[in-house]
Amino acid sequence: MASATPAVRTGRLTGTRASRRTWTDRIMRSVAALAAVACVVPLAAVLIFVTINGLAALNLDLLTRPSRAQGIGGGAEAAILGTIQMVALATLIAIPFGVLAGVYVNEFSSRRSARGVRFAADVLVGVPSILIGVFVFTFLVLPFKQYNAFAGSVALAVIMIPVIMRTTEEILKLVPGTLREASLALGIPAWRTVLSVVIRTGLPGILTGIMLAVARAAGETAPLLFTALGSRLVNVGDFSRPMDALPLFIYTNARQPYELQNQQAWGAAFLLLLFVLTVNVLVRARTAGRRAQ
């Protein structure tokens, strides 16, 4: 693009073009930065309001008393105990399935079936959690004509399984193949190699995945609506009856027309958020550290 055109003219032309390009560059970069800020604003807003309203509603009654009829107070004891029990049982159900499926995909399967299982897990994660609730309702509530906490636990387990499977598999992928070879070379059978070498090496990572799944299950409401149903009574240990959970407690109390009930919803939301975010912060801080190394 040289010779015939006078040098000065070319220079001026490219000059305006260059400045337009720099301006576009600057503007688009600021737009991108603004977008990132816009993503963080809702997080801050939720955290601030839940903390302020939640702390105001938090007292010993909320933690230690069962809830009572509309408008006269009580607490979230039934909900707290219910969440602990149902999530615990769900975790016990989900761990063997999730971890073993992860082991299968990474250690035993052909590449094709590994892709299939992984794909199924990803799609299962995308199934709306309320449909998991309806699904479990059809075979654990409908035949017995009784809402029950066991159905709630199974629904939560269905949500946890693909999460645990995917994290397990990701972690086992990082276990060096030489460890497996060394173990097999010593004549240790495959099952023992997987249990005592592969899983043992990946254990911290697997536990991390399980903790994230627990935090997710503890916050789920929709799968419990038609399974555990919720209850005002404290239920310890009877999984054949309805049981309350913190998310259900928040949902029902938020819908009440009474100020006191709404405040209790905020208090319970603060407790739930505190638990979920603590787990997430601890776990992600650890994994971020590991990734950086």
């Binding site: 560059d25 688009m28 970069r29 991108a32 977008a35 990132a36 963080v40 997080l43 939720v46 839940v50 399935f97 073993l100 082991v103 299968y104 990474n106 035993f108 299982v117 992984r118 199924a120 990803d122 299962l124 995308g126 199934v127 709306p128 959690s129 449909l131 309806v134 309702f137 059809t138 409908l142 809402y147 399984i161 693909p162 499977m165 995917r166 994290t167 992928k173 193949g177 097999l184 059978p189 495959a190 099952w191 997987v194 935090a215 997710r216 916050g219 789920e220 929709a222 609506l225 038609f226 928040i250 938020a254 819908r255 709404n262 905020w266 939301a269 958020l273 979920v276 975010l277 992600r284």
Partner: protein, 317 residues
């Protein structure tokens, strides 16, 4: 896939048995996972057969939901679901994509890391907590500001007229925007991260500005994956339940304005299921669920295939 697939077998009988047992049970666990997906579809279909037999495909196009008259049609809820999710995607897609670009291409590491972390935290907040915040804080705020402004400036356009209640379709769309942003950002970021550095270097060597590198080298390379991320967000928006149920107003009707109270499939199931009479009413609600399942699974399959094409099986979410 650098690992060694275990093929060595033990010679001793007991060892071989244990091996087989362990292999078998891990295969069983994996097939349970796949079976669950099929079982969900099958059980939802079997338990909604009554509805499909009674109404056939007219169930999907029917616009009346009247338990007293025994007439069930899913159309208003399908419209509500699509509208709420549509609003969310229209707002969340540009913000999410720009954020992903900022985090992976522009932001210095000491800024990108905490920002990514915070966006992941947003994804971890339980839906019911977002809903509580939506009912008591966001909806009243929107009613007084954004909604009032839209009504006063664009109110003459039929779909944008008042009255604006705060609780309604628009608030549900905004809540969903917040909830799908992390999905779009996280997946887009992974996909953009998978773009080879050589692509960028070539553009830089030609004298391109950073934006031109992004616009002409990075985004085109990652395009199908970014579209996948947006569809994944759409899938999540279609099925999101609690927060939407709490702010959408729960009125069984096709909305006539942007601010009207309406109902999505998920919110209809959430509010009506436990009081429904077992029989045609429960069956119709489960049929609604099946419609939603088909919608979300299609979205998820398309999205995952697009994302996998660019970045391989990323952990995601």
């Amino acid at each position: 896939m650098t690992h060694l697939t275990l093929t060595a077998r033990s010679n001793r009988g007991a060892g071989r048995f244990a091996d087989r047992l362990f292999r078998g049970s891990s295969r069983l666990a994996a097939s349970v996972l796949v079976a669950l997906l099929i079982l969900i579809a099958v059980l939802l279909y079997l338990n909604s057969r009554l509805t499909w037999q009674t109404f056939g495909l007219a169930f999907i196009t029917g616009d009346t939901w009247d338990p007293v008259a025994g007439i069930y049609g899913a159309f208003p809820f399908i419209v509500g679901t699509v509208l709420a999710a549509g609003i969310a995607v229209i707002i969340a897609a540009p913000i999410g994509i720009f954020t992903a670009i900022y985090l992976s291409e522009l932001a210095p590491g000491r800024l990108a890391r905490p920002l990514t972390f915070m966006i992941e935290l947003l994804a971890a907040i339980p839906s019911v907590v977002i809903g509580l915040w939506g009912v008591f804080i966001l909806a009243p705020f929107l009613r007084g500001t954004v909604e009032a402004w839209i009504v006063s400036v664009f109110g003459w356009i039929p779909f944008l007229g008042g009255p604006a209640y705060g609780i309604g379709l628009f608030s549900a769309g905004i809540i969903l925007t917040i909830m799908i942003l992390p999905t779009i950002v996280t997946i887009s970021r992974e996909v953009i991260g998978a773009v080879p550095t050589s692509q960028r270097e070539a553009m830089v060597a030609l004298g391109a500005t950073r934006w031109e590198v992004i616009r002409r080298a990075v985004v085109p390379f990652a395009r199908s994956g970014i579209i996948g991320a947006v569809i994944l967000g759409l899938g999540r928006a279609l099925g999101e339940t609690m927060a939407v149920t709490m702010v959408i107003g729960n009125k069984d009707a096709i909305p006539s304005t942007l601010f009207d109270q309406t109902q999505t499939i998920a919110s209809k199931i959430a509010t009506s299921f436990s009081e429904a009479q077992v029989g045609i009413q429960t069956s119709s609600l489960i049929a609604l669920g099946l419609v939603l399942l088909v919608m979300t699974v299609i979205m998820n399959v398309i999205a995952r295939l697009l994302v996998w094409r660019v970045a391989g099986p990323v952990a995601g979410e």
